[in-house]
Assembly symmetry: C2
Homo-oligomer: 233 residues x 2
Amino acid sequence: MNKSVHGLAPVRQEAAPLRRKITSALRRAIETGALAPGSRLVEKDLCADLDVSRTSLRESLRELEAEGLVTNGSKGLVVTAISPREARNIYAVRGVLEGLLMEQFAREADDAAMARLDAAVTELAAAYEAGEIERIIASKADFYEVLCTGADNMIVLELLSRLNTRINRLRFASLSQPLRAKASIAEIFALAAALRRRDGAEARRIALAHIDAAACAALGAVQIHPPAEEATP
Amino acid sequence: MNKSVHGLAPVRQEAAPLRRKITSALRRAIETGALAPGSRLVEKDLCADLDVSRTSLRESLRELEAEGLVTNGSKGLVVTAISPREARNIYAVRGVLEGLLMEQFAREADDAAMARLDAAVTELAAAYEAGEIERIIASKADFYEVLCTGADNMIVLELLSRLNTRINRLRFASLSQPLRAKASIAEIFALAAALRRRDGAEARRIALAHIDAAACAALGAVQIHPPAEEATP
DNA sequence: TCTCATATGTTTGTCGTACAAACTGATGGT
DNA sequence: ACCATCAGTTTGTACGACAAACATATGAGA
């Protein structure tokens, strides 16, 4: 997508409509837990807090509703709570999506994509090293962006982003374990190496293991991807 | 979810908010092609057509935007056009999601789920037989609902629904081929048989083949799931 | 005192209007 | 034929209004 021959990053969107900022603000609040799962979202209060009109606020709430971050229960809008089962399913889905992504990237990525991958991996490793959770999440988003662009599969990017917003609260938990961080770096490097070798199957295996580990860290679950996943004769 | 011991279907939501009806109406219009891909969505016109206020209409548009059915280009809102590449990716993603779904269902479904599956398959086959496209799509939605409920994975249901709204226009094309219909019935029965045997791997293989065939019918593409998909040593 | 019904307040869903800013297209001068 | 200005359209945002659904408090009666 980025056809620039220079290393210029695209200019950031300065003039985002107000409702996007509202949506982002609320999304962040939900992800960080400032708005706890299950808590009610009262329009009047949110308008007062954010100092915006109800019109714009409601449009933002519709977006969040469509994203699944808030739910329209019988008692009005509440922040969606994710059950352990749902979390497990999200990790399982991420597994198959990332598996697909790895194989597509290994098959289709061009040299520019590989170069971008290296840069993204380096940055991600630095972020893990630094231990700054916000930065890790941002770097990881970039990392996926690079992967999906290289694989030319924006559908996966969209779905993964959507899933990630839901489990970012859990990720805060798993990412704050320093032990995991060390292991994660190694896994990411191994992943990149496999991709550079264009070994999609191996990359997929590493990605699955990576997600499993993250899921365990986040959920304390034992097995997210049971043996059946591998049983292809 | 449906714990009723009788065969009672849940009561339909009578008092849906107006904006839901608006959203549904627009979604249908897009799916059927009444609103063609690329065509502009002018708020004032839509308000006039649907006879609703701009406030409610705009909330609906935000939902559709979050669903990816409409896109906010530089020239205002337009109906999202799906490129062949995107369509291929959607089919590929459906493949891995349904693969996961099959294995989960085979592993976790209880007797009630199996019974519901049989009913759904019978209905789906009847729909194919009758050749009524609307009915096929509705039955297939039911079919997935049964599968996801049995697999206890609502996340997949949500993602598949989202993907399906995007490619329903293509499905109109592929489903109208009577030859495909015959083959589809056989595939669906084989799928159900494998699930009843709890043979997740086989069910997954059939599902992949089914999607491949559908994709070919819709896109004229040759291969959506290349060999790498099977290459698990 | 406990219970129920009524009154009161709060929240949501919908509408209409308004207006600034961005964008579009038309008009007209050179 | 080209450009500049002007008017119309479209979007983004805000406000105020009101009915209906819902919640809460209040008070009457058992």
